[in-house]
Amino acid sequence: MVILTISIIALVTGIIFGVIFQRSQLDMSLAFNEAFTFKSPKRLMGIIVAVLTATILFSFVIYAGAVRNLNLLIGIGIDPIMVYTAHAPSLTPVIIFVGGIIFGFGMLLAGGGLAGTLFRIGEGYLASILTFLGIGAGVGLMLLLAAIQGAPMERLPGETIPEMLAIDPILIVLVFSALYLALIFLIKKFGTR
């Protein structure tokens, strides 16, 4: 029953995001393309605003105890935050950075990030279905190789920045918020025609 409720909420969340992404056309590939090619960073600033908003609100709901008291996954013994802080044992910042470069390049080549691919499928773009199949083929190949080599699904618990530095999270949120606002200001000042 709880799993069914969680599934319905997940579906509704996805639908809401699909509507927002389609109506706003807020796709990261397009955002970077416009910012770097045409010096039109409006979409990119929209993404930074999304990150800024989430940074402030995430910390608020986590440290105010709302997640602990209301989250349905915690109710069935799954910590939704640990899912994102956990990582593979062999992961290093260099590997992640290189992975990000490859992903960013592929995103521009394909003409859309993962959200962009999915919402464009909903708009009728058949090219996005090919992108999705390409991602599926690549993921499938790597998972199969890892499975055949007998790789275990080992995940090490990770920490957030406040936990790592043993600093009050409000301070870290303030620093990051200031950085994002500074980035928006700099982009507006120097990144536009």
Binding site: S7, T53, F97, G100, I102, F103, G106, L126, G138
Partner: protein, 158 residues
Amino acid sequence: MAGILIGVVNTVSLTIVKPYSLSSTVVCFFLLILFLVYPGSIETYPLLYSMTHGTSFTILLIAAIMGVGTIIGSFIAAKTTGNFVMRRPVRDQAIRSFVGGMLMSLGLFLAEACNIGNILTKLPLLVPFSIFATCGIAVGAYIGVRFMLWLSRRRVMR
């Protein structure tokens, strides 16, 4: 405005279920195909078994449902505003889309999440690794833009 809305909806999602992420949509799609084509593989390989049972599968399934919901939501929004049109790609675009997708899958594997997972979810959660992933995505996007410009100039010169 859309940025604020995304941040707010993502926060509500984190509070009730989990933050918005999409990489698992592809993983679930692959596991479904694998199960249909080679059902024995799930029991044969411990990695695939652990991904299709217990906590891992619950998380994968929820994210996959969010991905399916994204397609449905976009379809509803496009249809109601008259923006739904089946657009068939030309040959070059089709190849770029597929190859781009495969590169994204490699990046996803190494960076442990897609652009949404790293930038819209892990970064607001203040996960340290997401900073490196975000910088990498920005650098890769810049290289991608330069490459696409070079490609279009080459096409014009022909």
